[in-house]
């Protein structure tokens, strides 16, 4: 049985789905990276993803236009990001707790809207694969990397882009400074609130896209709790990746490959209880966090609300 798993076709299949499945992790975790680098822990990612997934699916389903769906997911994500910013910046609420609130709101709201508007599980024809000219013809490599839909390419393009913004632009410098020492940033005329509003809204938008990538590009359905906790893994991936886009990419690939492996193990009917297989990515999350958390240091101002002194 194990030998079946090691055949070339299956290995290519695992790698290809690994790349595909990394998509929602990447969008959500890169968005979360921005938030955390500016000092805000947003635990509501999963809720934002669910609402984004619902909005994207519903609009695409009713209008028949996937781009409208994507736009709807972006708008819903931005609104949720703004809400998180208002709660954590203006109201200075405990970030961990308000994030859980946002998550539960997203979970409940997407469920309610689903029941009221769709009622049953429908499907859409999601974004189609685009074969990159020439590159997709390369044997093996082409199949694994260059025959995906637009959202997959977008997710991978986001990684160097995020690195560039964080490390090479004045905006990135402000984000990093606010995440480490809010007082210092404030004393130099950097708007701490402005920076955090920006990163959280961006995080919301990317969470929305992450959700839509599930509902209109990868799975092409919407159902209750579609994300199944994926947003929380994305938060863990930010820690795993040491708050760096490259690290987040590495972590996302590991998780999506384990996921792909798990799916293929079931597809091939290998004699492991399916519950154990499904558990694998989550067990891995815990193990990874246990072994990495000592190694790296989070941004100093993470979870600390900012208030002008005295």
């Amino acid at each position: 049985m194990i030998t079946e798993l090691l055949s070339l076709n299956v290995l290519i299949g695992i790698a290809t789905s690994g790349i595909r499945l990394a998509t929602p992790y990447l969008y959500a975790a890169i968005g979360e990276t921005f938030g955390q680098r500016s000092g805000v822990l947003n635990l509501g990612v999963d809720g934002m993803m669910l609402l984004g997934a619902y909005a994207g699916f519903y609009v695409a389903f009713t209008t028949g236009n996937l781009w409208f769906g994507l736009l709807a997911a972006i708008i819903v994500g931005a609104v949720m990001g703004l809400a998180m910013a208002f709660i954590s910046v203006n109201l200075q609420a405990e970030q961990g707790i308000s994030g859980i609130g946002i998550y539960l709101f997203g979970l409940g709201m997407s469920d309610l809207l689903f029941q009221k508007t769709l009622g049953t599980v429908e499907t859409v024809k999601g974004f189609r694969s685009i074969s990159v000219p020439y590159l997709s013809d390369i044997p093996i490599i082409g199949e694994i990397f260059f025959q995906h839909n637009i959202l997959v390419y977008g997710a991978f393009a986001l990684v160097p882009l995020a690195w560039f913004v964080l490390n090479k632009t004045t905006l990135g410098l402000k984000i990093r400074a606010v995440g480490e020492n809010t007082q210092a940033a404030d004393s130099l005329g950097v708007s701490v609130s402005g920076v955090r509003y920006f990163t959280l809204t961006l995080g919301g938008i990317l969470s929305g896209i992450a959700g839509a990538s599930l509902s209109i590009a990868l799975l092409n359905v919407f159902q209750v709790n579609l994300t199944n906790g994926l947003g929380f893994i994305a938060v863990a991936l930010v820690y795993f990746g040491s708050w760096r886009p490259g690290g987040v990419l590495f972590g996302s690939l590991i998780f999506s490959l384990v996921n792909a492996l798990q799916v293929w193990v079931q597809v091939l009917g290998i004699d492991i209880p399916s519950d154990i297989a499904v558990m694998m990515p989550y067990v891995l999350t815990i193990l990874v966090l246990v072994f990495t958390v000592q190694r790296t240091r989070p941004p100093s101002a993470l979870t600390k609300p900012f208030e002008r002194g005295e």
Binding site: K168, T169, T170, L171, G172, L173, K174, R176, A177, E180, N181, Q183, A184, A185, S187, L188, G189, V190, P299, S300, R308
Partner: protein, 514 residues
């Protein structure tokens, strides 16, 4: 020096800045009561006063962090509106805060560039910034490597970055809020060289400090504030330490506690080859051996972060030892828990008095019996005996001169000085054989400092063995019988009182062994 002349840094100078009739009212407190203050190009004007005298408030008004209720600011005769730090910076006013405003995980150049418009639009222009930093550094003797990370720099170097940051933003007038508080004597000398150069170049400097000898050394004029009012302004040439202290406090103060001869007894605290790690897991103590004898104060001098905190925690049982032995009296207390150690007659005045010395939300009575709340007569069979506790706390408050509205006041509402007196009252009333005093007067005003010093000297007279851990060299020199210097977790040397001075201790503090 005409109107148009500019500074070496290229900035236009501020010939004359005047604050007139500044009033700042906080709920219940008049922090600044019609304060007049002025500073001119080419001078250091020192602003002196106790904690709460209104120095910081006045400077925060000048730097745009507070809006005054009344009064105006004139720059070169013209009214200036300063509503935010950005306004102040735009007008050529810079401020070096007591707690550095630096981001440790960023480089020097990144810290300087933060918040500035970049010559490359949205992209950072760190090369341009670095060149300019080097240029400014050369002009004023502030050498730092622009590509170094802040966390790699010493405190003295970090301060240079702060000054460069202000100069880079075109500061012609600099507010220096206790700039020497964390430096070694040698670093202070270097800093003063820079200040003199800036003044010669036409900068105006406002120097806030409570170290009188530094004020006398660097300033041209001194203005003293007390209770929000200007008590007087004098030319430094005509000022004396005693005169300034008297103006600050409003009465005569003994600046140096009397150091009577005391017969030194046997060793009460023996530390043998102590090794311990810091919170980050780095070796913080590397083989420290010391002895403190009855009736003596052993001063432990050193720049902050060289293992002082870890040493105090190891002795009091708050931190685990890797290796070594601690002997109290004649009992080996290595590895015992803090409660057991305290019962052997050790008292502790912790460095972080608000965090480790008190429970902020508890009232005075509760804090007074924290140490012995479970013993007779304060508790019987697990029940607290409130009449006894209240009476006892009342006595302590009276005896140690703690100013508090009532015994039910939460500790967090007291001033730093009164909190420290309360901790002292609790710790000394146990008649300890050994006292560990960490930074006992840090942040306290002259009056409270004088009081604490007197009490420590009394305790010495009574035969207590005191380990005085302090970053304030003046305090160490004034109180100690012997002075040990710690550097990177090792004792660099022990100097007898009569041979100790700022120079030889300063070298040891910098890790230079003669």
């Amino acid at each position: 020096m005409g109107e148009a002349s500019s500074l070496l840094s290229g900035t236009a100078r501020i010939s004359h800045l005047e604050m007139k009739g500044i009033v700042k009212q906080f709920p219940g407190v008049l922090a600044n009561d019609h304060v007049d203050f002025e500073v001119r190009a080419g001078e250091v004007h020192a602003l002196l006063g106790e904690n709460g005298a209104g120095k910081s408030t006045l400077m925060k008004v000048l730097y745009g962090m507070y809006k005054p209720n009344e009064g105006e600011i004139l720059i070169d005769g013209l009214p200036a509106v300063i509503l935010s730090p950005s306004d102040a910076i735009a007008k050529g006013i810079g401020m070096i805060h007591q707690h550095f405003m630096l981001v440790p995980s960023l480089t020097v150049a990144e810290n300087v560039a933060l918040g500035l418009r970049s010559s490359r639009g949205m992209l950072t222009d760190l090369k341009v910034v670095s060149e300019r930093v080097i240029e400014l550094a050369k002009l004023y003797g502030l050498l730092v490597d622009p590509s170094a990370y802040i966390w790699q720099l010493s405190v003295g170097q970090q301060q240079r970055v702060e000054i460069i940051k202000a100069l880079y933003r075109g500061a012609a007038l600099l507010i220096l809020d206790e700039p020497t508080a964390v430096l070694t004597p040698q670093e202070v000398d270097e800093l003063f060289v820079t200040f003199r150069q800036m003044v010669r170049d036409g900068h105006a400097l406002i120097f806030i400090s409570h170290k009188l000898h530094e004020v006398l050394n660097i300033s041209h004029r001194v203005t003293v504030l007390r209770d929000g009012r200007v008590i007087g302004s004098v030319a430094t040439e005509e000022a004396t330490k005693e005169g300034l202290a008297q103006m600050m406090v409003g009465r005569d103060v003994g600046l140096k506690p009397e150091h009577k001869k005391v017969d030194v007894g046997k060793a009460m605290l023996e530390l043998e080859d102590l090794w311990a790690n810091s919170d980050r897991g780095v070796a913080a103590l590397q083989g420290v051996s010391l002895q403190v004898r009855a009736g003596e104060i052993l001063g432990l001098a050193g720049v902050s972060g060289n293992g002082q905190r870890e040493l105090a925690e190891v002795i009091t049982g708050l931190r685990n030892l890797i290796k070594g032995r601690v002997i109290l009296g004649n009992k080996d207390i290595t590895g015992k828990n803090p409660g057991e150690i305290m019962e052997q007659g050790l008292s502790y005045i912790p460095e972080e008095r608000m965090r480790d010395g008190m429970i902020r939300e508890f009232n005075i009575s509760e804090n007074a019996i924290l140490r012995e709340h479970h013993t007779q007569p304060f508790a019987r069979r697990g029940f607290l005996n409130f009449p006894v506790i209240t009476q006892y706390a009342g006595e302590l408050v009276k005896k140690f001169n703690v100013k508090t509205p009532s015994l039910d006041t939460p500790a967090k509402n007291l001033s730093g000085g009164n909190i420290q007196k309360l901790i002292l009252a609790r710790e000394l009333s146990r008649k300890p054989g050994v006292l560990i005093a960490s930074q006992p007067t840090r942040g306290l005003d002259i009056g409270a400092t004088e009081y604490i010093h007197t009490r420590l000297m009394e305790q010495r007279q009574e035969g207590t063995a005191t380990l005085l851990i302090s970053e304030d060299l003046d305090e160490i020199l004034a109180l100690s019988d012997r002075i040990a210097v710690i550097y990177e977790g090792q004792i660099m040397g022990i100097v007898e009182r009569q041979n100790a001075n700022a120079e030889n201790l300063g070298l040891l503090m910098a890790g230079v062994r003669e």
